[in-house]
Every structure is written in C-alpha cells, then in structure tokens.
Amino acid sequence: AQSVAQPEDQVNVAEGNPLTVKCTYSVSGNPYLFWYVQYPNRGLQFLLKYITGDNLVKGSYGFEAEFNKSQTSFHLKKPSALVSDSALYFCAVRDIDAGNNRKLIWGLGTSLAVNP
C-alpha cells in the first residue's frame, strides 16, 4: 500500500537557522511528491512539487525540497528560517493504485515553530 510519513509531529528552530521538515514515502513506480503549508485557520497553500528531473526542487517563499530515491525521502528545507514560517506543513504523494491517479495521499503534518 502506498503511504507517506512525516516522522516529526513538531520541529523547533531558531530564526535565521536552517530548517528541515522530513517526509518519507512508499509508492510503486515513480512518485509525484508535493509540499503544502497551512497557516492558522487557513486552507492549504501549495509550496512545491517533484515530478521528474532535478532532485532539488525550488518553491515558494524560499523553500526547496530534495528528492532522494534511494532513501525514499522528500525533505523540505530552507536555508534561513523566519518567524513567519511558523505553520503546519504537509507532505503528499499522488495515489496511483488501481489506476486512480487523481487523489493525493497525505502525511499527518508537521508543526514548525520558528523562535525569535
């Protein structure tokens, strides 16, 4: 069965330090991977995606993510965290089981707190 795991419920980082939010996946075939951010009481906003090509994907708000096929990971990174980056982050992978490629499989989310 396909799945996505975000092994950390919460990540704390000091402002100005680099941040990493982890995501691992299990899918058959080539994965389509996504990161989303959710600010308090808001819907989810798309940050970036990996479909094919360069393993380092750049997205919105200075975020990037590194696809690692051998480790089946897609970690979200930012070189210098801002207090305004504090939010809930979700990783997702396209569901390709049974020929259904419309749905996404979601991780449970990681709460990022950036301390001033």
Binding site: Y32, Y36, R42, G43, L44, K49, R102, K103, L108, G109
Partner: protein, 113 residues
C-alpha cells in the same frame, strides 16, 4: 491565480439539521475534493468528483453526500448533522492531467451543537 471559494468560513448548526457546504473554483478544473481536517488526524478525504455528476467515495464518506451539477461547483451535504461532524472542512480542485497539485479553499469550520 487559481481561486477556490467556500460558502462560509464559520458555521454553527444543531444536531439533526441538514447542512450544505458549497465550493466554487474558477480554473476549469476537472477534479474537486472534500476533506475534513481534525487535530492529529491530518486530512481525510470524504468524497471527490472527476466530472460533472460523477463522484467517488473517499476514506470517510459515511454521513455525507455530495453534488456536482456544474463543473465549477461541488457541494458537500450533511443529511443529519451530528456532533462528531464538528470539524474543519476543506475543498480543493485540480486538473486531471499534469502534476495534479490540488488548490484549496480557505476552509469552513463547522460546529455542530
């Protein structure tokens, strides 16, 4: 920019009431989705639709139904609201092809008393 709108940001209903949540997207997306979000449980798919009048059950369809009469509009219906349906409801849409990234509305926080 893709815009997905939801009819209410906050809604309070009583147990047993029929509740309609509406979602409209303006990007001619084929796919539309309804999720509920609860602390610690992430996003759970209730129903989705890949075409007008077409629908498929998601992971937690019990107690819900949907309607898609026009391509841009996808409605979630709680036939008889119960307290365990108190939650944040999120609507999303996406193209059928391409990267399939989903675009979300602002959410409706529903409280059932």
């Amino acid at each position: 920019d893709v815009k997905v709108t939801q009819s209410s940001r906050y809604l309070v209903k009583r147990t047993g009431e029929k509740v309609f949540l509406e979602c409209v997207q303006d990007m001619d997306h084929e796919n539309m989705f309804w999720y509920r979000q609860d602390p610690g449980l992430g996003l759970r798919l209730i129903y989705f639709s890949y075409d007008v009048k077409m629908k498929e059950k998601g992971d937690i369809p019990e107690g819900y139904s949907v309607s898609r009469e026009k391509k841009e509009r996808f409605s979630l219906i709680l036939e008889s609201a119960s307290t365990n349906q108190t939650s944040m409801y999120l609507c999303a849409s996406s193209f059928m092809t391409g990267g399939n990234e989903q675009f979300f509305g602002p959410g409706t926080r529903l409280t059932v008393l």
